[in-house]
C-alpha cells in the first residue's frame, strides 16, 4: 500500500520536476533581452563567455570574490551534494557503472560535508543580521529540507541500516513501470518523502537558480555591441523614427 503510494509520489514528482523546470527554462530562453548588458569587463568572444560561465559554475568565481564565508559553505554543500548524487546513481543502474563504483567511498563521506556546508549556511542565515533581515520562512525551510534529506540518508548509512537491495529493486522497478515492495523503514520513508518534496518544489522555488544562472544576460552575453548590432524582436517592431532632423527643430 505504502509502496504504491511512494511509487505514485515519485512518478508525479519526476513529471513535475522535468516538465515544470523544462517549461521555466523554455520561458527564459524565449524571453528576449532587449539590450546588451554584460557586466564588464566581459569577454569579447563566445569562447570567453563559455570560460567565464565555466568558472562561475565550477568555482563560484564571483561569490569567491564577494564573500569568502558563503563561498566556503556553498562549495562544501554543492560539491558534497554532487558526490552524493553521483553515488546514488548506483540505485538506478544495474550493473553499476565503473566510475560510480569509483565515487562510492567518497560519496559516503561527502554526505557529512554537504550537511556541514548547509549547517554553515543556516548558521549565517540565523546569526548574521543582514542575512536574517532578507530571509523569508521559505529560505530557512529550504535549508532544513535538504539538511533533513542529508541527515536521514546518513542515518541509514551509519545508524539504522536499511535493506538497500530492496530499495534498489524498488527504483529499478519504477524505471520499468513495476511496483516492488519498499522496505517499511521510517528513516527511508522520511528520506524519500523529503526528496519527493524537493523535486516537486524545484521549478516553483529559488532552486531555479541552477538553470537560471545560464540565462542571466549580465554574465552570458558577449561584449561586442559595437561590432554586431543586437536587436530584439519587439524592439524591431517599434514605429520608425525620421532619418532627417524635423524642420521645426532646424536651427
Amino acid at each position: 500500500m505504502l509502496s504504491t503510494l511512494y511509487a505514485v509520489l515519485f512518478y508525479v514528482a519526476t513529471i513535475l520536476l522535468i516538465v515544470g523546470t523544462g517549461m521555466k527554462v523554455l520561458k527564459y530562453a524565449k524571453t528576449p533581452a532587449p539590450l546588451k548588458i554584460p557586466v564588464s569587463p566581459a569577454p569579447r568572444t563566445k569562447k570567453g563567455v563559455v570560460l567565464r560561465m565555466g568558472r562561475e559554475v565550477t568555482l563560484f568565481q564571483s561569490l569567491f570574490k564577494s564573500n569568502r564565508w558563503i563561498w566556503i559553505f556553498a562549495i562544501l554543500f554543492h560539491y558534497g551534494m554532487l558526490l552524493v548524487l553521483l553515488r546514488h546513481l548506483r540505485y538506478f543502474t544495474q550493473p553499476v557503472w565503473w566510475w560510480v563504483e569509483l565515487v562510492q567511498p567518497f560519496g559516503v563521506y561527502a554526505g557529512f560535508i554537504m550537511v556541514a556546508g548547509l549547517a554553515g549556511l543556516l548558521f549565517r542565515r540565523i546569526f548574521v543580521n543582514r542575512i536574517r533581515y532578507i530571509s523569508s520562512p521559505s529560505d530557512y525551510l529550504m535549508l532544513l529540507l535538504i539538511i533533513g534529506i542529508g541527515v536521514t540518508g546518513l542515518g541509514m548509512k551509519f545508524l539504522m541500516p536499511v535493506d538497500i537491495l530492496a530499495v534498489k529493486t524498488f527504483f529499478l522497478g519504477l524505471m520499468r513501470f513495476e511496483i516492488n515492495p519498499l522496505p517499511m523503514h521510517f528513516g527511508l520513508l522520511l528520506h524519500l518523502g523529503l526528496v519527493a518534496i524537493l523535486m516537486i518544489i524545484f521549478p516553483i522555488s529559488k532552486l531555479m537558480h541552477a538553470p537560471g544562472l545560464f540565462f542571466a544576460p549580465s554574465r552570458t552575453q558577449v561584449d561586442n555591441a559595437r561590432e554586431f548590432r543586437h536587436l530584439s524582436a519587439w524592439a524591431a517592431q517599434l514605429p520608425p523614427l525620421p532619418e532627417a532632423i524635423p524642420d521645426a527643430e532646424e536651427k
Binding site: 548588458i37 548574521v128 521559505s138 542571466a216 544576460p217 555591441a225 536651427k251
Partner: protein, 510 residues
C-alpha cells in the same frame, strides 16, 4: 586584530575602512523622497501626468509586460537565493545603514509583489515566500528606495548569479512612470532635451556664444586659434559630449582638452546643436522608448552633418549607452567610416594619438597635482574601451600616466570593476537628495583619504560628468577643495604643447 599599530608615527595612518559595515538602522532613509514630477514633466515622455485611478492594475500589468519583454528582469526575479553576498556591497547601505539599501532588500521590494501576482508560491502561500500585496504604501516605498539606487552594478559583480539590481531599479522606475509617478529631476531633463537637444535647455545661439568664448580663452592661453566648431557640415568627426562640458567646472577644462587633442591631431570635427548632449536619462528611468528617442538624435545629427565618425566625450552613463546600446537603439551605422569603432570614446582617440606620437607632452606641467583616478561605475561595469578586455580601466590610467608624473591608485577593491559609485549617479544628482549623495560618497571618499595619507594624493580625476559634479559638491564635506576633482582631459590639456604655442607663463588652471 587589535589595532595596535594603527595611527602611530611609524605606520601609515589608517584613516578609515571604506568597507566598514554599518549597524543596521531600519528606516534610516525612509524619509528621503526625491521630488516627484509634475504633469508637464511626465506627459512629454508619454507617461500619465499624475497617479492614475486604476494604478494598481496598471502597475501589476506593467510588471508582467516587463517580465515578458526583458529576460534579465524575469530571470533575476526568479533566481535570487538570498545568499547575502551582495548585502554589504552598496555604497548607499555602507553610508546610511538602512537595510532597504542592501541590494537584495532593494530588489525584494519589487520581487515580493511580483511573487504575489505572478508565481504559484506567492499566489497561494504569500507568508511562506515573503510575498505581499501591492498597496499605496508599497508604491511609495518603491519610489523612495528605487530612487536611492544609482544603478552602478557593484552588487551585480558580487552576485553568484549576476543579478543586476540596476535592471530591477530601472524596471521599478518604469512601472512608477507608467502609473504617473515620475521623478522630477530625470523627467524634467528628458522633456527639456526633447525640446532643445540638451539637458540644460541651452539653445543653439547660446551654445555658439559659449563655444566662441572658450575659443577666445584658448587663444589667450596658447596664442593659437584652437577651434570649437559647431554645426559644421562635412566635418569628419561629430563630438557628442555631456552638456555640462559647456558650462560646469571641471567639465569645461575637459572639453578644452578634447579641442586641443583634435587640433594637435589635425582632424576636422564638430559639435551638433541638435544633438548637443551625450547624457541619456532615458536609461535611468528604464524607458527603452525614451532612451531610443534621445539616442536617435545622434543618428540624425550625424546624417545631417555628413560626418564619418562619432566620438563621445567624458560621460559615464552616456558611454554605457554609447558603447553598449547605441548600435541597438540608433543603428545600423553603415553610413559612417567602418575603420573606426562606432562610437569611439575620446579616451580611445587620445590613447591612439599618444601611441602615434602626435601629441607633444610636457608632464611637468601637471607636477602640482598628485593624482588618483576614480573609475566611474557605468564606464567600469557597463562598457568597455579599446581592443582588449578591461580597456576601460587601462586606457584612462595610461593617458593619465602619460601626462602626469604623480599617479597613485586607490585600494584595489575600490577601483576597476569593484569601483564605488560617486554617490550621485543614476538620476540622483539633484539637490533634494543631497543627504543621500553625501552618505553614498563615503566609501569612495574614505578610499581617497587613505591614498592621500599614503601617497600625498591631492586630486582625483574622473571621466564622468555626474561624478565630476557630484564630487565638486561633496568633496568639501570630506575635507577636500571642490576643485580636487578634475577631468582627465583637463590634465591632458595642461600637458599638451601645441605647435607654435606661446606661453605667457600665466598658468591659471581654474
Amino acid at each position: 586584530m587589535a589595532p595596535l599599530d594603527k595611527n602611530t608615527d611609524e605606520a601609515p595612518k589608517i584613516v578609515g575602512d571604506p568597507f566598514k559595515i554599518p549597524d543596521m538602522e531600519c528606516g534610516a532613509m525612509a524619509d528621503t523622497h526625491t521630488f516627484e514630477a509634475a504633469p508637464e514633466h511626465n506627459e512629454p515622455l508619454g507617461f500619465p501626468g499624475e497617479l492614475v485611478d486604476n494604478w494598481k492594475e496598471v502597475a501589476i500589468a506593467k510588471m508582467g509586460e516587463l517580465a515578458e519583454k526583458n529576460r534579465a528582469f524575469k530571470v533575476y526575479l526568479d533566481t535570487c537565493v538570498k545568499c547575502g553576498a551582495c548585502t554589504d556591497k552598496c555604497h548607499y547601505f555602507l553610508g546610511s545603514g538602512d537595510p532597504k539599501n542592501m541590494p537584495v532588500a532593494r530588489q525584494d521590494l519589487l520581487r515580493s509583489v511580483y511573487r504575489r501576482y505572478y508565481t504559484f508560491a506567492g499566489r497561494n502561500f504569500p507568508w511562506l515566500v515573503g510575498a505581499r500585496d501591492l498597496t499605496k504604501e508599497v508604491l511609495d516605498e518603491w519610489y523612495t528606495y528605487y530612487h536611492q539606487c544609482s544603478q552602478c552594478r557593484r552588487c551585480s559583480v558580487a552576485c553568484p548569479y549576476g543579478i543586476d539590481t540596476a535592471e530591477i531599479s530601472m524596471a521599478a522606475r518604469e512601472i512608477l512612470d507608467s502609473v504617473g509617478v515620475g521623478q522630477k529631476y530625470c523627467n524634467e531633463i528628458i522633456a527639456k532635451l526633447k525640446k532643445t537637444g540638451n539637458n540644460l535647455g541651452l539653445n543653439p545661439k547660446a551654445l555658439r556664444a559659449t563655444l566662441e568664448d572658450l575659443e577666445e580663452d584658448l587663444e589667450d592661453e596658447t596664442g593659437i586659434a584652437v577651434k570649437l566648431p559647431l554645426d559644421v557640415k562635412g566635418a569628419d568627426i561629430l563630438l557628442i559630449t555631456p552638456s555640462a562640458d559647456f558650462f560646469a567646472e571641471p567639465h569645461i577644462d575637459g572639453l578644452l582638452g578634447y579641442a586641443k587633442v583634435f587640433h594637435a591631431a589635425g582632424v576636422s570635427w564638430t559639435i551638433s546643436s541638435y544633438a548637443s548632449e551625450a547624457a541619456n536619462f532615458g536609461m535611468f528611468i528604464g524607458s527603452y522608448e525614451n532612451m531610443r528617442e534621445v539616442s536617435w538624435r545622434i543618428r540624425q545629427a550625424a546624417k545631417d552633418l555628413g560626418v564619418k565618425r562619432i566620438i563621445f566625450g567624458e560621460c559615464g552613463h552616456a558611454w554605457r549607452v554609447g558603447y553598449s546600446f547605441l548600435n541597438t537603439l540608433a543603428g545600423p551605422f553603415d553610413f559612417l567610416d567602418q575603420n573606426y569603432p562606432i562610437p569611439q570614446h575620446i579616451m580611445e582617440f587620445t590613447s591612439d594619438a599618444l601611441d602615434e606620437g602626435i601629441l607633444k607632452i610636457d608632464k611637468s606641467r601637471n607636477d602640482e597635482f598628485r593624482m588618483t583616478y576614480h573609475d566611474s561605475c557605468n564606464v567600469a561595469r557597463g562598457s568597455a574601451m579599446g581592443r582588449k578586455e578591461g580597456g576601460q580601466f587601462d586606457l584612462p590610467r595610461k593617458v593619465l600616466k602619460a601626462v602626469c608624473n604623480h599617479f597613485y591608485d586607490m585600494e584595489q577593491d575600490t577601483i576597476r570593476e569593484n569601483t564605488f559609485c560617486c554617490g550621485g549617479g543614476g538620476g540622483l544628482l539633484t539637490d533634494d537628495l543631497m543627504d543621500l549623495r553625501i552618505k553614498g560618497a563615503k566609501p569612495r571618499m574614505t578610499a581617497l583619504q587613505q591614498v592621500s595619507e599614503d601617497h600625498g594624493v591631492t586630486h582625483m580625476a574622473a571621466i564622468c560628468a555626474i561624478c565630476k559634479t557630484q564630487f565638486s559638491k561633496v568633496m568639501p564635506k570630506y575635507g577636500y577643495e571642490m576643485d580636487s576633482i578634475m577631468s582627465v582631459h583637463q590634465l591632458v590639456a595642461n600637458a599638451v604643447i601645441l605647435d607654435g604655442q606661446v606661453d605667457d607663463d600665466d598658468e591659471d588652471d581654474d
